[in-house]
Symmetry: C2
Subunit: 194 residues, 2 copies
DNA sequence: ATTTAAAGATACTATTTGGTATGTTTTTAG
DNA sequence: CTAAAAACATACCAAATAGTATCTTTAAAT
């Protein structure tokens, strides 16, 4: 990677961390340049505005990372119900990318930015609908092998799981990891009955 | 009510609306005084700081309102499972206090403020644990009348319902009211199987 | 090695921020 | 009615904000 490319990536990674912890609007460019030791000139050379950097963060960092964690585990699955649980378990137990205190960076951005920026909303809703569709496919696939009852609505399951995930990330912010643990056991009961 | 009390309430109500729509940190005191036509002198006469006003908002406006909507419907219930569904239905269909675009003011504040302010976190976690305990009681009560199977964990159900609620409020921000509708039908299936 | 463009550094700006100091006007109590 | 306190108004402030203008340095190609 070129030196310039490295600088750009470094800015993005550090910005991602700061925004994850403090929120997008609460993270100032001065915050970013002081924690990166990159100058303002360099920042605005690589990004024409804070907004463009934020949108880049979503498409270049958030989306690929979450695609691996949320969608990939559901692809080519022979036992989708088990895989849905495992996906959630891996997400909630991943202490590298996530921190209970700060929740999920995608949920945080949806909460903060969707109501006030259509650009952010559009970028973030792509992630949500990709996940949604992957869950729907997984449930349909489970129905085709009779692992899930035919009368179950895959869309309903998708909304239940996505909502559960988003909500437990919020709940974790005030209740800590206990919320994750309890949710996982609740999810297991839920999935078994499908 | 005294004139002074009215001014205070008016500031709080308008601040609540602004914060609900834009977020706490993104709402400036100048925003508040310009939409209320109250001067900065009046604002700082009634509240020693923006933070105190925000905390007052939680205890004086948010808590009482949500207590009525979340906890009261579960009190002295003869059919707690039905009442849990109705509580959620009323919450999600309430277009007076809530707006799909902006989600739930409590969830928004938890998301934004919990990680960066212990005062906010403490105030908000009271609301969450009160709701949690009310749901646990309702499920226990349903078990005592054999409306819910005895092996079901009430705490698990509480976390599932609170998470589902918080998550669907987030999901609604990007997907609109369809998310609410689908979630409600998923919740019904879930509750029936308890 | 020299030129040229890319990459980065520095200093500035106009606006907005939460908050204060110091007023003036209303209420209220005697 | 009058004194005093409560309620509100105005003008300010230092810090922080996103962004720009203008440099200097570094890298690449000839």
């Amino acid at each position: 990677m070129s030196k310039s490319g490295e600088t750009r990536n470094y800015i993005m990674q550090k910005s991602f961390d700061l925004i994850y912890q403090k929120g997008y609007q609460a993270t100032s460019i001065d915050d970013i340049i002081s924690t990166t030791n990159v100058t303002k000139g360099a920042f605005f050379y690589h990004f024409k505005s804070k907004e463009q950097m934020g949108l880049g963060l979503i498409s270049e960092l958030l989306y690929p990372n979450l695609y691996d964690k949320m969608i990939k585990p559901l692809e080519n699955s022979t036992d989708p119900v088990t895989d849905l649980y495992k996906m959630m378990e891996m997400l909630l137990n991943d202490k590298g990318f996530f921190n209970v205190e700060y929740g999920c960076p995608a949920i945080n951005l949806i909460e903060e930015m969707s109501p006030i920026s259509n650009l952010f909303k559009t970028a973030l809703s792509k992630l949500v609908s990709t996940w949604h569709d992957a869950i729907v496919s997984a449930v349909r696939s489970a129905q085709s092998t009779a692992l899930v009852k035919p009368h179950v609505s895959p869309e309903e399951v998708a909304v239940m799981i996505i909502s559960g995930y988003g909500g437990v990330r919020t709940l974790g912010k005030v209740m800590g990891r206990d919320a994750y643990k309890t949710y996982l056991s609740g999810l297991k009961s839920y999935l078994i009955k499908l």
